[in-house]
Subunit: 267 residues, 2 copies
Amino acid sequence: MNRAALSGLIQKKQSFLCVGLDSDLEKIPGHLPKNSEGIVAFNKAIIDATLPYAVAFKLNIAFYEAMGAEGWNALEQTIKLIPKKEALIIADAKRGDIGNTANQYAKAFFEQLNCDAITVNPYMGVDSISPFLLYKEKWTIVLGLTSNSGANDVELLKLQDGRHVFESTIETMAKHGSDENLMFVVGATKSEYFKKVRAVAPRNFLLVPGVGAQGGSLADLKELFTDDIGLLVNSSRKIIYASSNQDFAQAAAQQAKNLQQSMREML
Amino acid sequence: MNRAALSGLIQKKQSFLCVGLDSDLEKIPGHLPKNSEGIVAFNKAIIDATLPYAVAFKLNIAFYEAMGAEGWNALEQTIKLIPKKEALIIADAKRGDIGNTANQYAKAFFEQLNCDAITVNPYMGVDSISPFLLYKEKWTIVLGLTSNSGANDVELLKLQDGRHVFESTIETMAKHGSDENLMFVVGATKSEYFKKVRAVAPRNFLLVPGVGAQGGSLADLKELFTDDIGLLVNSSRKIIYASSNQDFAQAAAQQAKNLQQSMREML
């Protein structure tokens, strides 16, 4: 999916919501089977219920890997349940490796699983990102400044030129891609640094976790808007685990709708 | 496997060699089937042939994921082929995520796959590492200073206190683990920084890629030795693809033996 198509979805749905499918065997409603079939049934209900309000779905790969080969089947099946033109499909894999290994990851997520986007980790540098950028109409989403407290340990260290590690990292990576194939992860909890993010990534889409549960405010994000919004705001548990009963899909739809309505007012 | 057992293997085999199973459908000998069964047959022959010379096997997870669910089966089968007391089993996954996601990755690699060690990426900070450290007799191997050219982009940036990002990163992570559960990845090509690595990780085991093909020298690594060696030197393609014919396992054994003999002389 290219930028024009993604921006088109945002306009059409009046939403920049990404629903995170962190689907956990321990947390899905008790009436569903506690296996990979239960996960797929859960995902199908959540996808169908929230699709009107969401422009993207983010699959947290760890939760599928924890089930082994069966989990990979659940991942494949879930991806097929998402209508390709109706939502961007993000593999939240946070991969990061070089050369042929990065090629293999790109092949796994862009070809084998046919995702539109993958999250990657920039610690090893440009050569761990560039193999993903070779794919047309696919997105590489690089960790920039994350929403967790551990962001202080590396991302927020101060460099000799007075900038933070995350600023230099985003700037370096941005040079090797374009705003048509490169996004950055920026935590909603880090609003004091939003200006610095946009200084080095003026028009890249940003994937923003941390609204709600982690304390980030939706209203603050307006500062990050580009001409075509340029944001995807992720919400996972608050939506998918809104209810643990038979009505879980309706409850998820209601939560997604609430967020979408707040977003519509911002647009 | 705890440190005493790993050090015992190094003494017994007079080797600190780790064989990297970057097993690629495109590169395994032509007489093997080009599917996951071919990969498992290839791995079995390589493991059996090199086990006398290797104290660890490192599985490059990307190569298995590129085959989807079938690849995860091949990964599970391969791990079962490695005698648990005869070699450390490393999942080269370079994962890095927080909280419950990190828990899921730990569960996938330490419980589901029963690996002894996993490589992780420190960019997101301590909270992306700590869930792995909760497992007893398992190893968390954090990226420190990698052997690729991209190391300049983030790891080798200079901080305000005059140190490099990798030094601060290793120091911060080392505080949260011990030399019984925490290793670091340090590229053999980065010998000019070896003293700085040992200044912040005096006794942690180091996993060292980059000897041979990438230009790192085995002899230089002596500077990194601890009282009980404290090193694992990885070689992947040079060993596993030493021959593309029927004799591939013998050729791999010969390459592994050559490295082991050089190592024995250093001990």
